[in-house]
């Protein structure tokens, strides 16, 4: 996947400018930055939900928004993205038939994400952590080659967060490329590469170790602050 010179202007306000980076297959890219930095807009541009007039985005060799990409990308937004008045299983079965994914993948995902016990419950009656896993399960239907997860761990307890990151690592091991956004800097340690975004611009992009070393910082929080200071 490659993004080149992406710029998005909305109502004379620059949302994103000079965004260029590329991602190798099977990598976990962490998209970090404060809220309002443009993380969601960047993800939406890559998966074809956001129009852009400047720059180029190529995903699996195709321009962003291509029809052929639709069954190869998994997306989990910050919005619910599931039907609260359907059961867990009904949700997964519906999206599976839209994607033409095998119905047996539904049961496989339910057990992988520890949702089997709640499969017949309405999603509205589940806890936040369970709902996040439902949304993730839907994103994984059809075994997409690339996953775009917008703040998948926000508001979740530390145990579940760790479990999810372990699961993401396992997916990456199977060759799935992932772009995961978060505003919790400490989660950067779980990523292969980190893209720091602030006010619509890339502050820095590289492996976590390199970023820490360059900034002379011990934690990602500290590194982020130092990089922001240095750019002033």
């Amino acid at each position: 996947m490659r993004v080149e010179g992406l710029k998005i202007v909305r109502q004379n306000k620059k949302i994103l400018s000079d965004i260029s980076f590329s991602v190798k297959k099977g990598q976990i890219i962490g998209l970090f930055g404060p809220s309002g930095a443009g993380k969601t807009t960047l993800i939406r541009s890559i998966i074809g939900l956001q129009n852009f007039h400047h720059g180029q985005i190529t995903v699996i060799g195709l321009p962003a928004g291509s029809l052929a990409l639709r069954s190869q990308l998994g997306y989990m937004s910050q919005n619910e993205g599931f039907y609260t008045d359907l059961t867990v299983q009904e949700n997964l079965e519906f999206f599976a038939s839209i994607l033409n994914a095998a119905q047996k993948q539904v049961s496989a995902l339910l057990s992988e994400l520890k949702l089997s016990d709640y499969r017949h419950q309405l999603v509205e009656n589940l806890s936040g952590g369970q709902q996040a896993r439902v949304s993730l399960a839907i994103a994984l239907l059809g075994s997409p080659q690339m996953l775009f997860l917008d703040e998948p761990t926000v508001g979740l307890d530390p145990v579940l967060r760790r479990d999810l990151w372990d699961y993401f690592r396992q997916l990456a091991g199977n060759g799935v490329t992932m772009l995961i956004s978060s505003h919790v800097m400490e989660e950067a340690a779980n990523c292969d590469e980190v893209l720091l975004l602030r006010r619509g611009r890339i502050l820095d992009y590289g492996p976590v170790g390199q970023l820490l070393k360059q900034a002379g910082a011990k934690t990602m929080d500290e590194a982020f602050l130092k990089i922001v200071e240095a750019k002033r």
Partner: protein, 246 residues
Amino acid sequence: MSPRRLLATARRVLTQVANDRRTIALVLIVPIVLETLLRLIYNDNRSVFNSVGLPMLGIFPLVMMFLIASISTLRERTRGTLERLMVMPLSKAEFILGYSLAFSVVAIVQAVLVSLVALGPLGLQAAGSHWLIIFVAAINGLLGMSMGLFVSSYAKSEFHAVQFMPAIVMPQFLLCGLLVPRGHMQTLLRWASDVLPLSYAVDAMHTLSAQVSTMGTNFWNSILIVVLFLAASLILGASSLRRSAD
């Protein structure tokens, strides 16, 4: 166009309705209660009940399906499910037709129940076939649904969506010929009445009535016009769905 995705959408919408017992009760029972109320109000004047009660069989499904359709598509927008579907291989036509199919089933069940009660126990007199009455009532439900689907794209909140009901449906109700025959309206009002779909739905019901003189309106012509409105509003609804935003 894939029948699999269209049917999956219809099935999903129907499952949502089926999971919500209160909605089912409201959709199926409220029209019957209202029609019964109408019968009681005109207890001493059965000819008025016969002339008003018949078009009302079409107006109940129209109003209720309008509301249900606009709220459900609005929810798809605000809760991120539409966005999710738009990054999947689902076409706008499959989405809209899936909804139409599901709500047709609901509209038909609703129309059958209220018509059976009206024509049976409530003693509504009609000259036309009972099948045609049920048919018009169901078509009206679909017309309401298509208008609801379309206007919901102009609503940002459920509050807006609900307000569209009086804004879009009430003028049509006032001008449809139920309160004042369309032929007796002032020219301007008559013109307005002529371009609104509900007028033709009520015209069609009137041709089935034993009470109202039809003034030469043809049943199938009126139905054709209603179906054209329905199709136009479904196409507008589909084109109002946006795959990507600016």
